[in-house]
């Protein structure tokens, strides 16, 4: 088994030119950093994560202030002081908004990033020059994967640092909370990578740049809004809330059937539920909901999502016809 594995790695190394992949990735990062759209994306995402923490911190700060004033007043009047409302709220509850930001905005930004990664090569037919060089399509795609991974890791890392700082400003952060935040960002990495690959897939396959951006946005609407609405028809507000309500709002058997058929394919629902469980903010309803999968299955669904989208990008790259480069405008 070990010999087979080593043989496979050797073959893979032989087929891929690490130097070419590195250079391709370096060039892509240079181009993206000179593209204002991409810079705006990075700034927006990091600003969003800071805003998410600030909103959570601010709400908690105000409620705590009101609570301490009230508690002081009650104490003066020799009345019993009820516990702080935040004493029963999990420490990472202030990151609840972050889950929704990743689902709604992060995924859209990831599509634009994936689109930008390919369109730089397809604009004006540069791909014709690129593929006339001793540069294989596998190297090309590997370079894009490295760039996408580096960029998304940097964005998520900055966002994670901001989260940890805000949580620790509010209360004494535990090691468990730090681990949960790290896991949340790892899950987000897999989830967002899928959208980058969707952006790349359509930018490779589309005949022109308008199609290349419009088609993945339609797919984004389906994944983020349509499927979750069908899959969570029992909970119509769920696309804006990672925590499901305690009771079934609608008990129609048709909706229950739609939910059970669609739910496994709703990657955004799986992501929301898994993130909420990981951050310790899921309600009792999720634990008792029969259609809710165990975390391991949810992790597998999210990893499958990434594998399927990267396979799509690979097939598109293999079938790409660089001789049509000039038509992409």
């Amino acid at each position: 088994m070990r010999t087979l594995w080593r043989k496979y790695i050797f073959q893979l190394r032989g087929k891929m030119e690490i130097e070419y992949i590195r250079e391709s990735s370096k060039k892509d990062i240079m181009l993206l950093l000179r593209d204002y759209t991409v810079i705006v994306i990075l700034v927006v995402f990091i600003a969003m994560s800071i805003a998410s923490c600030y909103i959570g911190w601010s709400a908690q700060h105000i409620v705590n202030g009101v609570y301490s004033e009230t508690a002081k007043q009650l104490a003066l009047e020799n009345k019993p002081v009820p516990p702080s409302p935040f004493s029963i709220v999990p420490q990472l509850a202030l990151l609840k908004n972050m889950i929704i930001y990743v689902v709604l905005i992060g995924s859209l930004l990831a599509i634009i990033l994936g689109h930008a990664l390919i369109s730089n090569d397809r604009k004006n037919g540069i791909s014709k020059v690129l593929f006339s060089k001793p540069f294989s399509r596998t190297d090309y795609l590997a370079g894009k994967l490295v760039t996408a991974s580096v960029l998304i890791s940097i964005i998520l890392l900055l966002s994670m640092i901001a989260n940890i700082i805000f949580v620790s400003l509010l209360s004494r952060i535990t090691l468990q909370s730090i681990i949960s935040i790290v896991i949340f960002y790892i899950i987000s990495f897999f989830f967002l990578s899928g959208f980058i690959f969707i952006g790349m897939y359509f930018s490779i396959r589309a005949d022109n740049s308008t199609q290349a951006i419009l088609l993945p946005i339609i797919i984004w609407i389906v994944i983020i809004f349509v499927i979750p609405e069908l899959g969570s028809a029992l909970y119509p507000t769920s696309s804006l809330n990672p925590v499901l309500p305690d009771t079934n709002i609608l008990g129609s058997p048709i909706l229950v059937t739609i939910h059970s058929v669609i739910y496994p394919f709703s990657v955004s629902e799986q992501y929301k539920a898994l993130s909420a469980t990981n951050l310790g903010i899921s309600s009792g309803a999720q634990a008792t909901n029969t259609s809710e999968y165990p975390p391991l299955i949810q992790i597998l669904i999210i990893i499958m999502w990434m594998v399927v989208t990267v396979a799509g990008a690979y097939i598109a790259t293999k079938r790409f016809d660089p001789s049509l480069g000039e038509q992409y405008e």
């Binding site: 130097e19 070419y20 250079e23 391709s24 370096k26 060039k27 240079m30 181009l31 000179r34 593209d35 730089n120 004006n124 037919g125 540069i126 014709k128 020059v129 690129l130 593929f131 006339s132 060089k133 001793p134 540069f135 294989s136 016809d321 660089p322 001789s323 480069g325 000039e326």
Partner: protein, 248 residues
């Protein structure tokens, strides 16, 4: 490497079909090492499709071809190591400087000391002063030079040029012509040039091939062609005469 007869490009029954129409049909010819080959034909004749197949960008439907002894279908990566390609309307990354563009193309071509080679090529093409300018800021003529630089950065044996003079002013055309001849004579690069500018063919090429509706209808040296059609006073008239003979 050229074959025993000195041919560096050998094309045998090369064909490309798009749906029902044949863009290129059973084209066979060869180009000698050190030649400047002018590939002539009106718009839509199949010149670019042929070059796309020879540069391994497009897979032929039928037939075969080899460049410097390497098969375009079974050894595409090795073929690419031996060719340079400048498409019509030079394509480069607009947001990168000329140097950054050339550095990227040099590195993915496997050049060991890219910086030295880049400056060498830029000096050869009189473009060294533009090294740190962004490509988006360059004139058409200067872009053409940087496009040529990316194509010869890895010292290819064969250089493919697709309508190289397209959109250039007369001075740009002259400069490019001089550069092509210099690359051929000083660097020993075989040139394969797609064009429909017959005046340029007369001044630059040693051999010509004429493509019409995807079929090669003529292929010979320019000298023999001019002797054969000595009753015609220009290459333009010869070209029309060849096309007429083939029923156009």
């Amino acid at each position: 490497m050229a074959d025993n007869e000195g041919n560096i490009i050998i094309v045998r029954n090369l064909s490309k079909r798009y749906g029902e129409s044949m863009a290129v049909s059973d084209v066979s010819f060869s180009v000698k090492e050190g030649d400047i080959f002018g590939f002539l034909g009106h718009n839509g004749a199949g010149k670019t499709t042929t070059v796309n197949m020879l540069t391994t960008l497009l897979e032929p439907t039928r037939g075969s071809a080899s460049i410097a002894g390497f098969d375009i279908i079974t050894q595409p990566i090795t073929v690419r190591k031996n060719i340079g390609y400048v498409p019509e309307n030079v394509q480069l990354y607009e947001n990168l400087t000329c140097f950054e563009n050339l550095e990227f193309f040099a590195k993915i071509s496997g050049i060991e000391h890219p910086k030295v080679r880049i400056m060498e090529v830029l000096r050869l093409l009189n473009a060294a002063s533009y090294a740190n300018k962004r490509v988006g800021e360059l004139s058409k003529g200067m872009r053409q030079r940087i496009g040529l630089a990316q194509a010869i950065i890895h010292k290819p044996k064969v250089l493919f040029l697709d309508e190289p003079t397209s959109g250039l002013d007369p001075m740009g055309v002259k400069e490019l012509r001089d550069t092509i001849i210099a690359l051929n004579e000083q660097e020993g690069i075989t040139i394969f040039m797609n064009t429909h500018l017959l005046s340029e063919v007369t001044k630059t090429c040693k051999t010509i091939g004429v493509l019409n509706h995807g079929k090669l209808i003529y292929n010979d040296t320019l000298k023999k062609t001019l002797n054969r059609f000595n009753n015609e006073d220009s290459l333009e008239k010869i070209y029309f005469s060849i096309e007429r003979k083939n029923g156009n």
